[in-house]
């Protein structure tokens, strides 16, 4: 046996996953999320209906065998639209959160690591940034950028950055003062190596947790944006946009409103359960 | 421990375990001891031997879950504390039995003035009005050597040693009959460590309190205790008067403890620490818990339970070897 084999750790990813799914709620979250993602990705290929196929005979039809979740105001199959819309909603949530986390990590690390004037400047910038609450910035940026997918991602990202930056910087400040950093410095580690080999791995855990939780809240924000007429717009089947259309029929055909609403809530619910699971799995205090 | 003296607190066959992720951590495994009125009993043992758990079990302030008292009796003045109702225990805690905690840095509420924290226990067990209580709290501060003017200061304005004094003042405020001192010197600087046992001794004399002193520091025991019980893996392996245990140690573990101490008089070039590690409390060895580390272990030690024998009057040892060494 070579030394390398001998000292091999058990597969970290598998081990982490096992720890994470120990709780029933986290298991439920993962299963729900996987089902939702699979249905949204693969489902449309099996749907007999076109996402924008207008069918005036079936206008406002309630759920039936042919149309599982009924039809909307143009007779389009809501289930099919829901699956296509899910792609938008999930992609928006994932891209914006990851993008936001990446930018946040970079700014936060630079501020936390270099300190001094750079830090003061960046943190004041974040103060100003955070004085405009996320949703407001989203509305303003979305207004400038228009309603495409990438402009919406950008709008959603902008709102989340100050929070990530503050958290990262806080974490780095705590870690930077710990003795293993001094130990690394004392054996002549380059600051680059200290940053990437020692500091980042130790501050990345809360980022993972916040980013996961952030996917859910970003999806809600994306839906809100579509709902008030910014972001992704009809006839694109984004869930928030479907909700906005459904609202106009609230008195007569509530299924048009309930279906996308429940879809958003269920997806965010699954993501949040996973987030909780990840947090518990990463929290060393709860480990045994 | 001789029986002709007045027994004040008697612990019989106490067993406590913690449940940790479906595993059982057996922290205390059938501990029995007596504390005599006005005397100090020292509980010595390594970290994790179950000393603090015993103290908290006596006050019934173990966090439940995960901790559970599985069996045993704790008699105080003829009453079994473990059978008392929770609301009756409130009158025992702080009034009859008080506790000094290990870490003065975290034992004080950071958001309350030190005076108010002493006042809290005073008002709970006395019929003072607030003004009288505050005067008394100030007097308690003076008693432990802190000027009463510092009543309105917060814990963060005090040094570690001063905080420990506050904790002691809090514990002694209601003249408890029994004091549980849990490693009162461990968290302090060496320069201050000596002062605390002295202070406790003085106060004990003044108030005539009985005490259980928990420590891993044999020096502190020598300074303050009348009787000693040595704990290993949740069991008492040797007990007796301080003279019995210090001058005629019998159990190999006790001997090991003394062997780990530097001695100024003899010119030993090397300390002889006890080999090995304390056992995993979720998986205690069969037979005598100490046998994996014991230089004299025999097959008998690995199998049957070793019961405690009285080797000289009042001096008990849980080892099958005649006379221990």
């Amino acid at each position: 046996m070579t030394a390398k084999q001998q000292y091999k750790r058990p597969n970290a990813v598998l081990e982490f996953f096992g720890r994470m799914t120990k709780a029933f709620s986290a298991k439920l979250g993962v299963i729900l999320f996987v089902i939702i993602v699979l249905v949204c990705l693969i489902g449309p290929f099996f749907s007999p209906y076109d996402v924008n196929g207008i069918d005036l005979i079936n206008m406002f039809k309630g759920p039936s065998k042919a149309h599982l979740l009924g039809c909307d105001e143009m007779g389009r199959d809501i289930f099919t639209r829901l699956m296509y819309g899910g792609r938008y909603s999930l992609a928006l949530g994932l891209c914006s959160s990851l993008f936001g986390a990446a930018v946040g990590v970079i700014i936060g690390s630079v501020a936390g690591f270099f300190g001094g004037k750079i830090e003061t400047f960046l943190m004041r910038l974040m103060d100003v940034w955070a004085a405009l609450p996320g949703m407001l910035l989203c509305i303003l940026v979305s207004n400038v950028m228009g309603s495409g997918f990438f402009s919406t991602v950008l709008a959603l990202t902008v709102g989340g950055i100050p929070g990530t930056v503050r958290m990262i910087r806080g974490q780095i400040l705590t870690e930077r003062s710990k003795e293993y950093i001094e130990a690394a410095q004392s054996i002549n580690c380059s600051s680059f190596s200290i940053m990437f080999r020692h500091l980042l791995p130790n501050v990345i855990q809360p980022v993972i947790v916040t980013t996961t939780m952030g996917i859910g809240s970003t999806m809600i924000m994306a839906a809100s944006l579509s709902y008030i007429g910014l972001g992704i717009q009809p006839p694109n089947p984004e869930w928030g946009a479907m909700l906005a259309t459904g609202k106009t029929q609230i008195r007569t055909y509530p299924h048009m409103l309930l279906v996308p609403g429940i879809a958003i809530a269920l997806t965010v619910f699954a993501i949040n359960l996973m987030g909780d699971g990840i947090r518990d799995a990463l929290d060393p205090k709860l480990r045994d | 421990m001789s029986t002709n003296k007045e027994v004040f607190l008697s612990v019989k066959n106490l067993e406590v375990s913690y449940s940790q992720a479906r595993r059982e951590v057996r922290a205390v495994n059938g501990v029995s001891f007596d504390v005599q009125k006005g005397k100090t009993l020292g509980l010595v043992g390594e970290t994790g031997a179950g000393k603090t758990t015993i103290a908290k079990a006596i006050l019934r302030i173990l966090p439940d879950p995960p901790a559970k008292v599985k069996s045993g009796e704790i008699f105080l003045g003829g009453e079994d504390l473990l059978k008392k109702k929770e609301e009756d225990m409130l009158d025992v805690r702080g009034k009859k039995i008080a506790m000094i905690f290990q870490d003065p840095m975290t034992a004080l509420n950071p958001l309350m003035t030190v005076g108010d924290q002493i006042l809290e226990v005073l008002l709970l067990h006395n019929d003072y009005d607030k003004a009288a209580g505050m005067r008394e709290a100030g007097r308690m501060l003076e008693t432990v050597g802190i000027p009463a003017e510092r009543y309105a200061e917060y814990p963060h304005q005090f040094s570690g040693g001063m905080k420990q004094r506050v904790v002691i003042a809090m514990a002694l405020a209601c003249n408890p009959e029994l004091l549980l001192a849990d490693e009162p010197t461990t968290a302090l600087d060496v320069t201050i460590q000596a002062q605390v046992p002295e202070l406790i001794n003085d106060l004990k004399m003044k108030f005539g309190t009985s005490m259980i002193l928990i420590t891993h520091d044999l020096g502190v025991i020598a300074q303050t205790c009348d009787d000693v019980a040595v704990i290993y893996a949740g069991k008492i392996v040797e007990s007796g008067t301080k003279e019995d245990v210090f001058d005629h140690p019998a159990h190999p573990y006790t001997l090991g403890l003394f062997g780990s101490l530097p001695d100024i008089d003899s010119r030993t070039s090397r300390l002889s620490p006890i080999a090995g590690m304390p056992p995993d409390p979720t998986n205690l060895p069969e037979g005598c818990s100490f046998h994996p580390r014991c230089p004299h272990a025999t097959d008998a030690c690995r199998k049957g339970q070793i019961t405690s024998r009285e080797i000289t009057p009042g001096h008990f040892c849980a080892c099958i070897r005649e006379g221990g060494n």
Binding site: V128, A131, L132, P133, G134, M135, L136, I139, L140, V141, N143, V144, L173, G216, A223, S224, Y227, I228, G240, L243, K247, I250, R251, P254, L257, G261, I264, A265, V268, F269, N272, L273, D276 | L59, I61, P65, M89, L90, V92, R93, G94, K95, A98, M99, F101, D103, T106, A107, L108, N109, P110, L111, M112, Q117, E120, V121, L124, H125, Q157, M170
Partner: protein, 316 residues
């Protein structure tokens, strides 16, 4: 202490300037000819030129920015609406109370109910009360507030007919908006309160209090809660900011003429003085919420207070 407050107020002023700069620049960057949008596609070039000159749109960016900053922060005048030619300030002042009623009552409900639920969950950790509160909280964290609002309308207005579905003709019109905008915040706060209570529930000083013979209920109130309060305050302040920022959505669901709805109409109609005014008000409100939160810390924690009075800068 007062030095700290003054310093923070000055910082708030600077932050507002920057917020003004940001919002002005963002509206400046919106593509399209505002004059054309305002006057419609039939407008002739002559009319457009006059309109642009009237709104100052023919000036270079820096001149426009300077005039905006001068008017807003020196003269405290937001000017007239480009669409309705009425004073933005007057309209804003009329709308502010409506938004504040919803936000502040939401916050009060949030502080009382959310915190208590969190404490109940924490003190019953692992028991059914804990699971019950946490499951409910998770549901409301996950449901978008405007969807909850629509469900409430569906149930209480359309099915049961108890409460109005929109407008604020009577005070009953406020009930559903307050509930739907605060449910999410309550859920977040309950989760936050639970976890920060759990942090202190095992703290040594709590054991000390138990060893004194103190009653469990008093320990919770006197020792645990104050020490768990800091993250809870942060959460509540953040929740208020989120509620206020979410006002465009909730106000548009319930057709409430508040600041949020005003902002949205400004955005949709390219009525930028309205957008500037609304955003600056909302930023001002958020900054004050954060300032009050920080002062609460000092009030609660003698260590932070000591830091402030020593005039030291507080990191965070």
């Amino acid at each position: 202490m007062s030095r700290y407050v003054i310093k923070r107020l000055l910082l708030t002023v600077v932050i507002l300037w920057c917020a003004g700069f940001v919002v002005f620049t963002l509206t400046y960057l919106v593509p399209g000819d505002v004059a054309k949008i305002l006057l419609g596609p039939e407008a002739t070039e002559d009319v457009l030129v006059i309109k642009r000159a009237a709104l100052g749109l023919d000036q270079p960016y820096l001149v426009q920015l300077g005039r905006f900053m001068y008017n807003t922060f020196i003269r405290f005048d937001f000017g007239d609406s480009w669409v309705f030619s009425s004073s933005v300030m007057a309209e804003l002042l009329e709308r502010i109370p409506r938004t504040l009623i919803i936000g502040l009552s939401g916050m009060i409900i949030n502080v009382s109910i959310g915190t208590i639920l969190g404490i109940i969950a924490a003190t019953h950790e692992g028991k059914w009360q804990d699971s019950f509160v946490m499951v409910i909280a998770m549901v409301f964290v996950s449901a978008p507030d405007f969807f909850v609002a629509l469900l409430l309308i569906l149930l209480f207005s359309l099915k049961l007919g108890w409460l109005p579905a929109y407008g604020i003709d009577s005070w009953t019109g406020y009930i559903l908006p307050i509930i739907s905008s605060s449910l999410g915040a309550i859920a977040v706060n309950a989760r936050q309160s639970r976890s920060s209570m759990l942090e202190v529930i095992r703290a040594d000083f709590v054991t000390t209090a138990r060893a004194k013979g103190q009653k469990e209920s008093v320990i919770t109130r006197k020792h645990m809660l104050p020490n768990a309060m800091m993250p809870i305050i942060t959460g509540v302040g953040g929740g208020l900011a989120v509620m206020i920022a979410g006002s465009p959505v909730i106000e548009s669901v319930f057709s409430i003429p508040g600041v949020g709805a005003y902002l949205l109409s400004g955005v949709n109609q390219h009525d930028y003085p309205v957008v500037w005014a609304c955003v600056i008000f909302l930023a001002l409100f958020t900054s004050f919420a954060i300032l009050i939160m920080d002062l609460c810390y000092a009030f609660l924690d003698p260590r932070i207070k000591a830091q402030y009075s020593r005039g030291k800068k507080v990191k965070g």
